[in-house]
Amino acid sequence: MIYREAGDFSTTYQQDSQTFPIRFDRYRYYAILAVAFLLVPFFINDYWANAILLPFLIYAIAAIGLNILVGYCGQVSLGTGGFMAVGAYACYKLMTSFPDVNIFFHVILAGFVTAGVGVIFGLPSLRIKGFYLAVATLAAQFFLVWMFNKFGWFYNYSASGQINAPERSVFGIVVTGPNTHAWATYLFCLVFCVGAALIARNLTRGTMGRTWMAIRDMDIAAEIIGVNPLKAKMTAFAVSSFFVGVAGALFFSVYLGAVEVTEAFGIQKSFIVLFMIIIGGMGSIFGSFAGAAFIVLLPVFLKNVLVGGFGWATDVAAHLELMILGGLIITFLILEPHGLAAFWKTIKEKLRLWPFPH
């Protein structure tokens, strides 16, 4: 009854083109933001931050980035792990080379560096399409990981080949290194996550997003109506890599603290982020969040049930977990190939009619 447009009059163009046209949606959005910013930091503890909230926020940024490329522009990429590694290493080099600059700017700059790398590896997309492109992006994945492993300059010639995040603070509050508080790291990531969602949402409904979607739906037709494919594809690669790079930088500096590149940013990472947007829904910002939440929560949930509930050995539980994850992905694809976002849309359509469906 409360979820409908009726009675919600727009009197200015601005009101007419806002992100959430339905009043209830808008208030729900403000409420979620208020809870995330004002309530959660007071109740958060280390377990919740490290097991659920930080990975969720960081993966959500990465998923938004990949969604722009795959969901909005239709260019399938399996190089996410490699681009996240670029973000992480760029952030590390910046942090150690310019210790006086605020880490906030380092993370942003790491995003820009990744955007540049993304554009270079995106160039072949002008010639290669579909699966061929997906496999071609694997070149980025393997080459970048190899590069960070082999050249000592990237990890400052440390003996272990790992990179460790030095202690840095924002407004005097420590956000990286070993002496952080859960609420500080959480808020730091949350700011980036909300910023990424806002930017992505507004980019995708503007001119840029429309050219991306035109390329996705049919690139030749898009070219004929005057979309410049070079510009559209390169901006998609740049914006996507920017977000993925920011996610990588946060993943390294705030979440893990110490990173070994093949382990943290291997091919598995690329697949996990791709799963998120498939399960969440391609071409949807909400879908990126839903997918990230699903993939982050599922292993935690299964572990608690199988190991904690039944008391099974961890290796048996780990194998079962893989099977269940695989099975769920297949089930999801069969039941709702367009992801959780499509599911959510159906619910909203139903809600608008409720309680008088006829």
């Binding site: 061929y132 496999v135 994945q141 030749i220 791709l274 799963f275 498939i278 194998h319």
Partner: protein, 328 residues
């Protein structure tokens, strides 16, 4: 002849042998892609699953023993018998056919007419599932696979080349056997495609699904058939790789190695898979030998992909792929 040239020749020969093994995996991909348009990422994990099943049956392991022990508190592990290799292979082929039927029945049937990317994701899901299943059924430890294939340096080649050049080439017997088996497999597949009724039906389906349906070919049967064939190819690949480096998780990563092979050769061409495999095998070994030491080695990790990427920029459909025609 100077030593460098001889080394390079040896490296090339070894690269050819490695390339044959890549081709074996790529073949399974091509079979399924041609017949159903599905890009089967699970091919590598199928090889792992097949090899693990083969070892499990040969050693008489109790399937799911870890799970059963965890639930019922029993202590099962082995039946206590050993199955001869040939019988075990036949049984494993049976398992792979059942698996193919289940995949068709439970997964692919429900995804007909979906976009290729959705099907691709489903096979990734399948890969996760099979990986978990394989570990759960047979345990995740590294197993040695011994089906009686010869191993170690081939003395004849060593002696002959030593007499001719004063330097003996090191070539593994297993690689030679693998090359012969791969050649036989390709000839058998070609013959099957060309001369049997099922093979003809398979080609018809690959050409046009609807037209094939309309002349009375059962798509369901054909798809079970190609998945079984792919399962069989996976078993052969799993046996070769398993005998070479043990049956373990890294076996499933050969799927990733097969991808650039496919891109180079074209997704739809069986000869393409072979030639692509050889090019990649030789290319990455030679590159590692010549350029590798200058950039710190381990270039094998990425060389194949970068080669395929550069190649595709000039010829987007691969070497033997069907020409991509785009219409609006």
């Amino acid at each position: 002849m100077p030593d460098q040239v001889l080394f390079a020749m040896e490296v090339t020969l070894n690269g050819l042998m490695a390339g044959v093994l890549y081709s074996l995996v790529a073949l399974g991909f091509v079979l399924i892609f041609k017949a159903s348009g599905i890009f089967n990422y699970a091919q590598g994990v199928m090889a792992l699953f097949a090899a693990a099943t083969l070892v499990g049956i040969m050693d008489g392991q109790v399937p799911f023993s870890h799970l059963i022990n965890a639930i019922f508190g029993t202590d099962l592990h082995h039946f206590g018998w050993h199955v001869p290799a040939l019988l075990a292979i036949v049984l494993t082929v049976g398992v792979m056919i059942v698996l193919a039927w289940l995949v068709q029945k439970l997964v692919m049937r429900h995804l007909v007419n979906q976009e290729p990317i959705i099907l691709f994701m489903a096979t990734i899901g399948l890969a996760y599932f099979l990986e978990g299943l394989s570990d759960l059924m047979w345990g995740s430890s590294i197993k040695t696979l011994d089906v009686g294939l010869p191993q170690g340096i081939n003395d004849t080649i060593d002696r002959v080349t030593f007499d001719a050049f004063g330097y003996g080439f090191f070539i593994d017997n297993l690689d030679i056997v693998a090359a012969i088996i791969a050649a036989l497999l390709v000839i058998a597949l070609m013959a099957f495609n060309q001369y049997t009724k099922e093979g003809r039906a398979l080609r018809a389906v690959a050409d046009d699904h609807q037209a094939a349906l309309s002349v009375g070919i059962s798509l369901n049967f054909i798809w079970v058939l190609v998945w079984s064939l792919a399962g069989f190819v996976a078993l052969v690949a799993g046996m070769m790789w398993g005998a070479k480096s043990g049956v373990q998780f890294s076996l499933s990563l050969i799927a990733l190695k097969a991808l650039p092979v496919l891109m180079l050769g074209g997704f739809t061409s069986i000869p393409g898979a072979i030639v692509g495999g050889l090019i990649i095998g030789v290319g990455e070994k030679l590159f590692e030998f010549l350029i590798g030491p200058m950039v710190g080695g381990a270039t094998e990790n990425w060389f194949a992909y970068v080669l395929a990427l550069l190649f595709l920029v000039f010829r987007p459909q691969g070497l033997f792929g069907e020409k991509i025609i785009e219409r609006v």
